[in-house]
């Protein structure tokens, strides 16, 4: 899941106007760009950064939910959670492969993640102190991911678009499963319902931040839209998410932690929609810049897995090399 509004894209190109115009013509004709096609350097680098951030988010996203696998309260929930976290790892794997088609290796991307150079979705820098967070993440975080990713199924870059089609199917299953978990808590004891409300209170605003900075502050959106990498702006997607999610909360008796939330019949060209309160962008940037509660722990956990696993990867390579030598000698 979890592509986030892109952070810090580079829009410089060295190509001449004729080249750029020809490329734009293909984009406007809704042709898919494939790995071996000519493309502007900035198109390539934007996609590498975007797909890389997305892949890293899948991988780092395994941690907050993985935190509850050994403590899942029933075998049914345990199996569902294990399968979900495993799906996220699978998404990471397809996405790294999609990024590799643009000429960057998984090792390079991993190093950038571990050194802090590459970003991942800010949402995973929040902790999961309670079991309800497992439901809330599925409901809101996978839900927000779907809003972001359904339009990416039509992304102009073929391998990314195709990866998204497969990923989106699984994300919507995760979203329903998460919502069902929260719904179940709300139908449970007073303590369970309080656990669900507390969790929603903590995750609501961070999940709105998943769509990235507001359109007025996001410099790269224009170019990504022109190249049909993105189809909607951050604010448009955020609004869709609010409009879809608020009624879901009401249905199970939960309330959003936003005193300014109210129905506005004039919104969305007269179709109606929710007005909502101001997002704390200071918090967003603080977390993006590494000062969320869990940023350091997340990278530390990934780094530990990578470092502790070095001897395993080396052994696998050494063994494969020996086998190849034997085959060559035979």
């Amino acid at each position: 899941m979890y592509s986030q509004g892109l952070i810090g894209a580079d829009d410089k190109t060295a190509e001449d106007q004729a080249f750029l115009d020809a490329f734009q013509k293909r984009i406007d004709a809704e042709e898919k760009i494939e790995p071996n096609d000519p493309m502007p350097a900035a198109y390539r680098s934007t996609l590498i950064r975007m797909i890389g951030q997305h892949a890293h988010s899948e991988i780092v996203g395994m941690l907050p939910e993985g935190n509850w696998i050994t403590r899942a309260p029933s075998l049914r929930r345990k199996v569902a959670l294990l399968a979900k976290v495993q799906d996220e790892g699978g998404h990471g794997l397809y996405l790294y492969s999609a990024a590799e088609t643009l000429g960057v290796s998984r090792e390079q991307m991993t190093e950038e993640l571990l050194s802090g150079k590459a970003k991942y979705s800010s949402i995973f820098n929040y902790p999961t102190p309670t079991w309800a967070d497992i439901g809330t993440i599925g409901w809101l975080v996978d839900g927000a991911a779907i809003m972001n990713q359904v339009p990416l199924c039509r992304c102009s870059y073929g391998p990314y678009a195709r990866a998204m089609i497969r990923v989106c199917k699984e994300e919507s299953f995760h979203q329903r499963q998460g919502y069902e978990l929260v719904q179940n808590l709300c139908a449970g004891t007073t303590e369970q319902k309080a656990m669900a409300q507390d969790s929603l209170n903590r995750w609501w605003w961070p999940s709105l931040m998943m769509f990235g900075p507001s359109d007025t502050d996001s410099q790269h959106s224009d170019l990504s839209m022109k190249w049909k990498i993105k189809r909607f702006t951050n604010d448009e997607l955020r609004q869709k998410f609010v409009d879809a999610t608020v009624p879901q909360a009401k249905l199970i008796g939960l309330s959003m932690p936003d005193a300014d939330l109210k129905w506005n019949a004039d919104k969305n060209n007269g179709q109606g929609g929710y007005d909502f309160g101001a997002i704390d962008w200071d918090e967003f940037w603080r977390v993006v810049k590494g000062h969320g509660m869990m940023n350091k722990d997340r990278i530390k956990a990934r780094k530990k897995a990578w470092d502790d696993g070095a001897w395993v990867r080396e052994a696998a390579q050494a063994y494969a090399k020996k086998q190849n030598t034997q085959v060559a000698a035979a």
Binding site: P73, L75, R76, L93, W131, N184, K322
Partner: protein, 250 residues
């Protein structure tokens, strides 16, 4: 209801639950992304089998308990998994070897269960054999790669063999209940299982350039509910929510 059958079914279910639990601890922390997918995958197989077995146990017992009552609401001394499966992950070499030892045992177990006089277990054996054969292959390949990889990996693999081999004897332990099941044609003859297991492990060890250690003394106790200290910590995690919120449903 057959008390001896119930007793043995719970033992096998416990083996699967605890084995799956240990594997699931790796999720998100594996040496490579591919293993972040395969270890949870194997854990899913094992916990899935545990669910089927606990549900069968609940039916045999017929006292209204559920799979979760068995999995979550017993005390340390009531779990009867073999000690091998509860041993901590320690490192990837220990984990792969532990799973290989257990999966190889289960593979031959399920294979002979195709002929079991118990229809439920015989039906389960057909699904389980497919899953567990993959575990044997996957873990066996890793044991070979690590045993015959680098000097460092060979050392770690051989440490794992030293540490875990003493726990393998318990896999073949036959208590009164199990003997009862063997006599009734429900469970296979364990001496035969041991030979099959040993042949497979020997063949893998040759490829992995590993030697079988001399076992001074076989460690057993799990089948009687006597566990190592790490096991209590495992249960503390496993049982936390159902214990903290008695009666709640999730």
């Amino acid at each position: 209801m057959s008390a001896p059958l119930l007793h043995t079914v719970v033992q096998i279910a416990d083996d699967h639950l605890i084995s799956g639990h240990r594997l699931s601890e790796w999720c998100g922390h594996a040496p490579m992304l591919e293993e972040d997918l395969s270890m949870p995958n194997m854990a899913l197989d094992l916990i899935g089998q545990a669910r089927t077995l606990y549900s069968y146990a609940a039916r045999l017992e017929n006292k209204g308990r559920t799979e979760d009552d068995f999995a979550y609401l017993r005390t340390d001394r009531e779990y009867q998994n073999c000690l091998l499966v509860e041993r901590p992950n320690t490192d990837f070499a220990h984990t792969m070897l532990r799973q290989l030892y257990f999966a190889t045992y289960m593979k031959f177990f399920w294979e002979s269960m195709h002929e079991s006089s118990d229809e439920t277990l015989s039906a389960l054996s057909h699904k389980a054999i497919k899953e567990i054969s993959y575990h044997v292959r996957h873990c066996g390949e890793w044991v070979v790669r690590l045993g015959d990889g680098t000097t460092e990996s060979a050392e770690k693999m051989s440490d794992a063999v030293q540490a875990l081999h003493p726990y393998t004897e318990e896999l073949f332990e036959v208590d009164e209940s199990r003997q009862h099941g063997i006599d009734k044609g429900i469970f296979p003859d364990h001496a035969n299982l041991k030979t099959q297991w040993q042949n497979t492990i020997d063949a893998i060890f040759v490829q992995a350039k590993l030697t079988l250690p001399e076992i001074g003394f076989a460690q057993t106790g799990g089948r009687k509910g006597l566990h190592t200290e790490d096991f209590g910590m495992l249960l503390a995690q496993l049982q936390y929510l159902p214990r903290a919120y008695p009666g709640a449903s999730w």
